[in-house]
Amino acid sequence: MAEKKQKKFTNPFGTVVESLYDLFDKKAPRYLLMTIMTAFLIYLPLSSSRFTQEIMTNLFFYVVVCLGLNIIVGFAGLLHLGYAAFFAVGAYTTGILSSVYGVNFWLTLPFSIIAAVIAGLAIGAPTLRLRGDYLAIVTLGFGEIIRLTVRNLDITGGAMGLIGIQRPVLFGIVLNQITHFYYLFFILAVIAIIVSYRLHDSRLGRAWEYIREDEDAASAMGINVVQIRLYAFIIGSAFGALAGSLYAAKMTAISPESFMFIHSVMILLAVVLGGMGKIPGVILGAIIVTLIPELSRDIGQFRLIIFAVLLLILMLYRPQGIWPERQGISTKL
């Protein structure tokens, strides 16, 4: 408690970017820009290649999972290192129900959320009472355990994974084109953004912010710290599971290797890079993490080292991220 220092907000990018951020914080320009963006993104598949659509679909998917993780890491200030596991919980729930039991895709979604809530409770309830660092290692372990479990069990197809997950049907159309999934993930991303904003501005969102800034004061004001944190953990997990279900439907085949530690790290990287807690920042982070590897396929294996060095430098010199939350200065575990 003694060493609580608040860093003054400094912006190395200069006043131009700063004033752009300011502009975006005002309602009218933000809505204008969002409308233009939406219109452009709806129009995009009509005039672009399959490759572009594939990348954009992947980007929307990343936006959803990053916003989900942002609820846990950004809003509530809890370090989560096994997010890919929750994404696997959703994907496998849908996969098993769909390919083994032949359940309609849309009906598997509630089950996927229920499974994620149960997993979130099992991990969160014991560890959220303790110091924040325990959560980091337990989630890291959980990620690995889920991977090992789906590899060892028969129902999950072992190391081979699951194949033959049914395509979802919407209004009598079987969704099997990349354009279909482009719009599906686009809608999901829009919903995720709206839900994130609504959560951020809600009573719950304020409680998260309060706990993140000063746990003891929040507790003294009558906020049940463990319970409120658990909400963040569960809501974030449900986001991940939902995205995982749609991922399973898009891929129609999933294997344990799709949910490795490195995916959790990339999602975390996007959230931290963009600016924890700031929704446009997180979206920016998701764009950076998905697009840079696509644009720079040549560097290949060096990519992760470069990302890691970038993360280190960013943390040392600009721990708030590229587009940080304005009032929230210290993110304390």
């Binding site: 890291l140 280190l312 721990p319 993110t331």
Partner: protein, 304 residues
């Protein structure tokens, strides 16, 4: 084999693997005790230690061979090298962050871990490297227990390192300073202790022990690979929690206990070795629910 023989064999296996866990767990526990940081890079330091040992042994081989003499010299050299690596990491990535929000320092630790891991991955092309030694694998019996010279020496060496560390912590001024900083860093600074120097020494000792464990694991399993740190890191952390994080004898005890639990746990029907890692993790969760302060830990009330 009779039940008794299986029991003895598993007891020995558990102690040996557990002593590796213990050596790595000490590093987690020391760093956590002194700056309350969960050092994610520690598992990768263990892995780097194994590779440093392999490389040094390769250089030494033409001069002093790759039997015990060569291994011991390689062990000492790579302990020093990796210890210095730990100090360097501490200086670059952790020291500037000591006063920053806790989430930031955890993320720099993660970044360091990724850098080490991916560097070795690139250097080895992701392949398993044989850890070639000139040791014989002849086995002999002590009572009903079948054993090799290598395994016996490894166990004794691991226990000797733990004993040396214990003496260092309890009998020297540096050890005393470490324990004092763990209690109250600000007061130590006022008392004229060079806190940063002691933190650097802590990182040196912790990293050197992890390197030793890495080389021993290399000698024991016969191969090293870039991924070897990940699981043992998780398990060593579990060991540190079992013993009570921040308490060094606790880390040793936790490591040995976890090794034994794994060795006997996999003998239970229906669990088997493919579930071994899941078993460890379930144990971690149970400990966090029922005894979060660990076996040797005391209840701590947080000061405002």
């Amino acid at each position: 084999m009779t039940t008794w023989e299986i029991f003895l064999q598993q007891l020995f296996n558990g102690l040996l693997v557990g002593s590796f866990y213990g050596l790595v767990a000490i590093g987690y526990s020391m760093v956590y005790g002194i700056i309350k940081l969960l050092n994610f890079a520690h598992a990768d330091i263990y892995m780097s230690g194994a590779f440093a040992g392999l490389i040094i042994l390769g250089f030494l081989n033409p001069y002093i061979g790759n039997q015990w003499l060569g291994i011991i010299v390689a062990l000492l050299l790579s302990m020093i090298l990796v210890g210095l690596l730990g100090v360097a990491i501490q200086r670059v990535a952790y020291r500037p962050m000591l006063k920053a929000p806790r989430l930031s320092i955890l993320i720099t630790a993660l970044a360091v871990s990724m850098i080490l891991y991916n560097t070795v991955l690139l250097m080895t092309q992701g392949q398993y490297k044989p850890f070639t030694t000139g040791l014989t694998h002849e086995s002999f019996y002590i009572g009903a227990l079948r054993m090799t010279e290598t395994r016996l020496v490894l166990l004794i060496a691991a226990l000797a390192l733990m004993l040396m560390l214990h003496l260092f912590i309890t009998r020297t001024m540096y050890g005393k300073a470490m324990r004092a900083i763990a209690l109250d860093r600000d007061t130590c600074q006022l008392m004229g202790i060079n806190v940063y120097k002691i933190i650097a020494i802590t990182f040196f000792v912790g990293s050197a022990l992890a390197a030793a464990a890495g080389i021993m694991a290399g000698v024991y399993y016969g191969t090293v690979h870039f991924f070897m740190g990940f699981l043992i890191g998780l398990k060593a952390f579990t060991a540190a929690v079992i013993g009570g994080i921040g308490i060094i004898p606790g880390a040793m005890l936790g490591g040995l206990l976890l090794g034994l639990l794994e060795a006997f746990g996999t003998q239970i029907p229906f669990i088997g070795s493919s579930w071994r890692d899941v078993f460890t993790f379930v144990f971690l969760i149970l400990f966090l629910i029922f005894k979060p302060n660990g076996l040797l830990g005391r209840m701590e009330s947080e000061r405002m």
